[in-house]
């Protein structure tokens, strides 16, 4: 059981790292090298492939966890999803009232918030059950 969990955890971390590297590489190329529109669109969709691989390993990892850990993951995800929804909703409303600077509040700047919401949810849920 522990062995499966450790192996699953390792593949989640590796696939997440591959996804992050792909994303930041594509971001760097698109931002700094200003490629043609076609190449830019292809590069924008490229991290989707590595994200799909990460998602596969994450779901596989969660399904091999025990039921307490699965509950913790579920609550963390629900927490992150609700906060992400709230953030987008608030920014959407704010965008109608004040002009938000896209260099500070563009889509790509929201990603760290969503990741932070998940880890905060994980922290809260772990504290509740462990």
């Amino acid at each position: 059981m522990e062995r499966i969990k450790k192996t699953g955890g390792k593949s989640i971390v590796i696939s997440a790292a591959v996804w992050a590297v792909t994303y930041f590489t594509c971001l760097l190329i698109v931002k700094e090298l200003s490629p043609s529109t076609l190449v830019g669109v292809i590069l924008s969709f490229l991290p989707t492939i590595t994200f799909a691989i990460f998602l596969y390993h994450f779901i596989k990892g969660v399904s091999s966890m025990d039921e307490v850990e699965r509950r913790i993951q579920l609550e963390a995800t629900v927490f992150a999803f609700a906060l992400a929804l709230l953030m987008i909703m608030t920014l959407g409303l704010l965008d109608l009232v004040v002009v938000l600077n896209k260099e500070d509040w563009g889509y790509r700047h929201l990603i760290p918030f969503f990741v932070a919401f998940y880890f905060f949810g994980l922290f809260v849920s772990r504290k509740k059950y462990m």
């Binding site: 059981m1 025990d66 039921e67 307490v68 059950y129």
Partner: protein, 66 residues
């Protein structure tokens, strides 16, 4: 929901880690079930009862507010 896991463990002289290994969950999971923070599924409750050689009714009892 209250439980007698700690008592049953003491009878067998098992640690939480021993029990966790026997029912294929983490030690933290056993701890959270034992302290009543998490109510296990029917499958896990039956597994626990089986390893202790007792029944689910002895291991878990409903409380008035359940």
């Amino acid at each position: 929901m209250k439980n007698t896991i700690k008592v049953e463990r003491a009878k067998k002289n098992w640690t939480q880690a021993d029990l966790a290994e026997k029912i294929s969950v983490s030690r933290q999971a056993v701890n959270s079930i034992e302290t009543g923070k998490f109510v296990p599924s029917t499958t896990l409750a039956l597994k626990m009862a089986a390893v202790f050689g007792t029944t689910v009714e002895i291991l878990f009892q409903l409380e008035q507010d359940d």
